[in-house]
Amino acid sequence: MSAVATRTLLSVRDLHVHLGQSHVLQGVSFDVPEGGVTALLGRNGVGKTTTLRAILGLVGRRGSVRLDEEELTSLPTHRIVQRSVGYVPEDRDVFTGLTVAENLRLAERDAESRYDLVYDLFPDLKTRGGQRAGTLSGGQQQMLAIARALLNDNRVLLVDEPTKGLAPALVAEVAHVLERLAELTTVLLVEQNLGVVSRIAQGAIVLDQGRVVHRSDAKELLDQPGLVRRLLSVGHAA
């Protein structure tokens, strides 16, 4: 890897989150290098989604989150996003009562939004502009959620389980889109599908019970089935 590619873009240090009585994140620390895809892995309920939400300030947290040396934890969510941090949430969270075009218009942040790129990747969204997002299929809603983030020039994109609940054909399509995304920006990806991870991720961070328990190259991790089973309790489905 080149020196530029390994420069740390996002740095998370000693991140703690309490949700109700639960101490969900217990001092999470990791770095995300600039460029490429870093996968945030772990079993269900270990704090992956909470980590992304904590980076964005969507949940109360303690610790440090730095983007290019700028501390983000003192900023409200919208200011963090305005620092060119994009977010594709778990369960899509498209606005079902708005049309596809309105969902995209709402996401416009930059002076020149990248509609050409969005419609090149997702031509369906152009033809369905007047359709209510709530009437789209799950796969189309996922495309819309990704398109909202693609519309702007993000320095880092937080993507939460983009293939969750999708049919196998759509999973391949989403993986292809994520590959294109990775050419444009740095991606921190929460993903359960290890086939997708092995295809697109360079780095891997594994969480367990609110702590980071493993950091390595994604390939290095996935090449050790025993370690994968121990850390993730799943087989490697390539």
């Binding site: 919208h78 969270d93 606005f95 009562g97």
Partner: protein, 299 residues
């Protein structure tokens, strides 16, 4: 037939006021999850503001119509400013603390009535409006008070303006999205707090319009007028569907017409009871109200 027509038009006039109050309440709850019990104070700011400006600032204006219009405009501005300040000063610091918000708005509601009583007393204040507003127009044998037409027309204009604002402007888009999922709006880089203040100000203007029209409807303004109207506006909001302007409009007409018909054809006072029964039935059959609005995550 003429009696039925009179009841219908009067009911529509009352429904217009309910809608004006309920629209702001509904948007505020839909977007922010705030049950604003202080909304009655916004109504009173409109009615008392208009009365005060008319009696003190524009008392030299000879044309009653011009005097009423000018003082009403300032009354509406006062309603918007007051509502915006309530959001900034009282609601914003209690962002996610809904119980405290309820306590603050209930407290403000009670304190504001006491403040009005303390300054201007309990007696109703006469509302000076053009005489033609209290004259009647005969339609199919029914003598309809002219103010009913003004109330209905005003509510129709407010409804159309709100719909245009919500559907055609960037802030309208933000509000509609925020009603569905406020956290996601923030996650798109939008400062949703600006929308909060705006929604409060819009609610304040609509409530102040209701205050002005209630002064015309009842011929006077009194300290507890706003609070009395608020009870039925809350029922309208729940029946219409939280966060839905269209649902509030339909529910306001249903509630007001039900009250009018029942009070006349059954017995005076029965209308209020029937409206409460209607509320119970709607909640059982459609817990999300007529519009079935999905009020989303409020992280």
């Amino acid at each position: 037939m003429s009696t039925f027509l009179l009841l219908t038009i009067t009911g529509l006039g009352l429904g217009a006021m309910y809608f004006l109050i309920a629209s702001g309440l509904s948007l505020i709850y839909g977007l922010m999850g705030v049950l604003n019990f202080a909304h009655g104070a916004f109504i009173s700011v409109g009615s008392y503001g208009t009365w005060w400006f008319s009696a003190n600032l524009f008392d030299g204006v000879h044309s009653i119509l011009l005097r009423w219009l000018l003082s009403s405009l300032l009354g509406l501005a006062a309603g918007a400013v007051f509502a915006g300040l309530v959001e900034l000063v009282l609601i914003r610091p209690l962002y996610t603390r809904h119980m405290e918000q309820v306590l603050v708005t209930v407290g403000l509601s009670i304190a504001f009535v006491a403040l009005l009583q303390g300054i201007w007393g309990n007696d109703p204040k006469p509302f000076v409006v053009p005489a033609w507003l209290h004259e009647t127009t005969t339609v199919a044998g029914a003598h309809i008070p002219n103010d009913r037409w003004v109330e209905i027309a005003t509510a129709a204009v407010v409804l159309a303006s709100l719909q245009l604002f919500l559907r055609r402007t960037r802030y309208g888009l933000v509000i509609r999205a925020g009603v569905e999922n406020r956290a996601m709006v923030q996650a798109l880089g939008i400062d949703v707090r600006k929308a909060f203040t705006l929604v409060f100000a819009i609610g304040g203007i609509a409530a102040a319009i209701a205050g002005v029209l209630s002064g015309v409807y009842f011929n006077d303004v009194s300290p507890d007028q706003g609070t009395n109207l608020l009870i039925f506006a809350f029922i309208v909001v729940v029946i219409g569907g939280l966060g839905s302007i269209g649902g509030s409009a339909v529910a306001a007409l249903v509630v007001a017409l039900t009250q009018q018909y029942t009070n006349y054809y059954a017995s005076a006072g029965v209308g209020d009871m029937v409206v409460v029964l209607l509320l119970g039935l709607v909640l059982l059959a459609r817990p999300r109200g007529f519009a079935g609005a999905v009020v989303g995550a409020r992280a």
